[in-house]
């Protein structure tokens, strides 16, 4: 009782909300901010990083946010399933991850996804390639979700012998981000497409550096915890290109103008800077009026295998 009386005397001069913030801690203060940010009729998904660990805070978030509508999500996959089946799904998540912070954070699905992606890298010890380049094409770069449980992304590593900068441009949109490289210190890029675009998207990358860099990029399937190294192209292979068939077949046009392409004699117009998927055959022979890069991919036991000219 004495302890309670002392605590009460200390709280007495404060306004009620300040007292509540003092008693319930930064978690309550953060929920006040979340509540202020939420729209009047907005449903908030309460997303837990670890159900066992975070459920208590989730329960209190449910309490303090009422009468805002709330839904619990024990994992991001639970949320993705709901997105698929319920058009009225919450658009934003109140993220509860007490291992990271005691505060509740109002985040988008993409932000939470990116955060989780960074926690558990699939490419654990990324090693840069042997060849130093100043310009290169990464033929496929993506940050997308498959069926719940699957997520695809691109990881990379850059290493320069000199201090330099590397600009990564994501196409077809042309958004770019420049990274500083310190001499002989590898720069590991996780979920690089999201880092550049802040959204889920698929395309390809151009790497432009102020000094020669050795680099590697990987196509990562998080669901299977599987990564495939992608080749880097300083220039596109000579035409005609012969590509072994797969389940999917793409033509990458790195030019500023439309490329008129023929695949096994069938004409196609490939938009500037686009990565266009076309029907795949057992063997695909590609001719074009400009430089292009053709490649295919097939999946065996869920694992991706790429074929390049």
């Amino acid at each position: 009782m004495l302890r309670l009386v002392r605590e009460t005397i200390a709280l007495a001069p404060l306004a009620y909300e300040e007292r509540r913030a003092r008693v319930a801690g930064p978690f309550y203060s953060s929920l006040r901010s979340v509540r202020a940010e939420l729209g009047a009729n907005e449903t908030a998904g309460i997303s837990m990083r670890d159900t066992r660990r975070d459920v208590t805070n989730a329960v209190f978030a449910n309490y303090y946010l009422y009468p805002h509508r709330t839904r619990f999500f024990g994992s991001l996959d639970d949320y993705r399933v709901m997105v698929l089946v319920d058009p009225a799904h919450p658009k934003r998540l109140v993220r509860i991850d007490t291992a990271r912070t005691s505060e509740a954070r109002l985040m988008t699905y993409n932000e939470v996804r990116h955060e989780e992606v960074l926690e558990t890298p699939i490419v654990r010890d990324p090693k840069p390639g042997a060849t130093a380049l100043t310009d290169a094409i990464v033929p496929m770069a993506l940050a997308i979700d498959g069926q719940p449980g699957n997520a695809y992304l691109t990881d990379g590593v850059l290493l320069s012998d000199l201090d330099a900068t590397a600009t990564l441009t994501f196409f077809p949109t042309g958004e770019s981000k420049t990274f500083a490289l310190r001499a002989r210190q590898p720069l590991v890029l996780r979920d690089v497409v999201y880092q550049i675009t802040k959204r889920l998207d698929a395309g390809w990358l151009r790497v432009s550096a102020t000094a020669p860099v050795r680099a590697s990029f990987w196509f990562v399937n998080r669901g299977l915890r599987h990564a495939v190294a992608l080749p880097l192209f300083e220039r596109t292979p000579p035409l005609p290109q012969r590509v072994a068939g797969g389940e999917r077949f793409w033509i990458l046009n790195p030019n500023d103008a439309v490329a008129n392409v023929a695949v096994d004699g069938t004409p196609h117009s490939i938009a500037p800077h686009s990565l266009t998927q076309l029907p795949a055959r057992a063997m695909n022979e590609v001719t074009a009026d400009r430089d292009v890069l053709a490649f295919s991919a097939a999946r065996t036991n869920g694992r991706e295998r790429f074929n390049f000219p």
């Binding site: 309670l4 009620y16 319930a24 449910n62 009468p67 839904r71």
Partner: protein
Amino acid sequence: MTGLLFTLVWFPLIGAAVSRLAGRMNWFLAGAGMNGLALFIAGVLHIPLHAVLFVLGVAALVIVVAKLELPARPTLKPADAAIAISIVLLLAISAIKPLDDYDGRAFWLLKAKAIAHEARIDGPFFHGETAVTPRNEYPLLVPLDAATVMIAARDLDERHVRWLYALFAIALAWEVRRHAGPWLGALTLWLPQIAVSDAGGALTAYADIALAAFITCAVFELASESPGALRTGLWLSFIVLTKNEGLPFAVVLLGVSVSRLRARAILAATPLGIAAAALFLWRTRIDPTDEARFTLSALPERLDRLGDALLIFARHAVAFPDWGLFWIAVFAAGAFLAWQRRWRPLLIGAATIVPMIAIYLIMFVVSDWNTADLVNSTAPRLLTHFIGPAMLLLGHASREND
């Protein structure tokens, strides 16, 4: 402050009216019980809660004003200074310190907010459409009382209802004082489990003290010289609607009432039957969520756990930080009454405590929870439910004769 003023006026007003009709009852507890009972039945019948509150208020005012009869002013005793100090402390702490317990926020007050917001007890919230609804089938008497205060304050903030829970404890102590003496009344509010526990104490928003208060009223009613059937029935109906444990408690007390009320026990069973029927009907309309699971059929194979459960439960009863020497004194009082052959209080006390402890022990054993974890996490506050019969034994043992 609106919440305090409303709580101090509304529930005693309703209780005074009930007292006027049914005979002398604790105003606050009778008011809180009748308010919850009326709103719950109205909710089950889909009568708008705001209209029920209006009618309840007007009717109570008419009944009270028609024949204003204040209870006799109690003669103050030295022990009342101890009660006064604890009342001041409990109200001051309730006024200043925001709620920080688990069940109060996670379950009970969330329900109160939802009822106040939706003005329904089977609306979207109770179907899981607007928020997560843990323990969806918990009885709603106390949340309905809290919702009443929120409706009056036009605000869902918990700050308006903090007093309600402290006042349940104060009313409990007052009832003990009236029947068992001032020192035992004072002791009620100084027992650590009631005064300061953050799991079921007077400064939390749990419903255990409210349940204990209603049980206490029923026990003292049955132990009185001329127990009233209607009053007993009303207390039993409040007990059923306060917590899940209330139903077995009410059945046990109804059994006790047969020996005291004889045929009039049927009258006592009527409000209880209505409340229980309303509770079951309401539960058919909502979905269970994460309610505790009990597998009674598993009892024969888990009987070996009974001894452990009893031992842990007994250990909590004598745990000094929670209960001091209280339960040892109660046991001694029971032995003393037996030695003195003062059977009536002993039988009423024992007939309430023994079967309910047996039921709690069986529930511990057949629960899907780990038995030891369950006993450890609930025993201190479950013991609160027995405070009424315990005070009955202590009160009688401390008198020279009955």
